[in-house]
């Protein structure tokens, strides 16, 4: 049986999942991704700066996210770059969400069966 490239990349790590999920709402810069991941995970997942940028580098290399064209610095003059989800990244995110959904459904079915 042949497997596509995207199929072999799944399952993805929780940090990667939250980063992709954060970018699914629109382009964001690094700090916004970091904050959004903490919010999405209800404070459970806190990405450190080095973890975030290590993941961003790999996701860029895999073609799942892309860096937007040069953004102007913020009000304090700090450089900031925004990242956005690519079509391949969105496809991976959808596949992972479907995988998690099917696992959850299966677990619920089994739990209902055993609780009767």
């Amino acid at each position: 049986m042949r497997t596509t490239v995207t199929q072999t990349k799944i399952p993805i790590s929780e940090a990667t999942f939250f980063i992709l999920l954060s970018l699914s709402a629109g382009p964001r810069h690094g700090y916004a991704i970091m904050k959004d991941v903490a919010t999405l995970s209800s404070g459970r997942v806190h990405l450190s700066t080095s973890t975030l940028y290590g993941a961003i580098k790999r996701l860029q290399e895999d073609g799942w996210i892309q860096r937007m064209d040069d953004e102007p610095p913020d009000a304090s003059g700090r450089p900031r770059k925004e990242y956005s989800l690519t079509q391949a990244g969105r496809r991976i995110l959808e596949q992972e969400a479907a995988r998690l959904e099917s696992l959850t459904r299966l677990a619920r079915l089994r739990l209902e069966e055993t609780s009767r």
Binding site: S48, T49, S50, Y53, G54
Partner: protein
């Protein structure tokens, strides 16, 4: 003031140890994000800042090593070529090699105080008093 500056300097020093390719792409952004996050945590209180710094500096060395080793782990040939990682790896391997050779000499008794070779190569270390 030193509470604000010192962590940033240490963080910047760590970031400067990343492979050149990585630094060129992300070093400025990482500094910016670290500063923003540190300022926000400081505003929340010293305990929040301490937790933040602990999280940052506990993951930094592992991620740093991971970035240096990433080219070696790459399976698909010709995809990643990061020659800038080689000097660090070469230095690490050399240090390991020298350490193992030195320790084997010691264990083999090369520097044993009672051997003539000791007197010949490291006279200040041995107690040999023969001819």
């Amino acid at each position: 003031m030193i509470i604000q500056r010192l962590p940033h300097r240490v963080f910047h020093a760590f970031v400067s140890l990343y492979p050149r390719n990585f630094r060129e792409q992300f070093a400025d952004e990482m500094d910016t994000v670290f500063s923003q996050a540190a300022e926000e945590e400081l505003a929340r209180g010293p305990l929040a800042l301490a937790v933040f710094l602990l999280r940052e500096f506990s993951s930094l060395p592992a991620n740093l090593i991971h970035e240096h080793l990433a080219p070696l782990k790459e399976i698909s040939p010709g995809r990643r070529k990061l020659p800038e990682s080689r000097p660090v790896l070469t230095a690490a391997w050399s240090a390991l090699g020298y350490a193992s050779v030195f320790s084997s000499w010691v264990w083999a008794g090369f520097y044993s105080p009672k051997r003539a070779s000791c007197r010949r190569y490291r006279p200040w270390l041995c107690q040999y008093s023969g001819p």
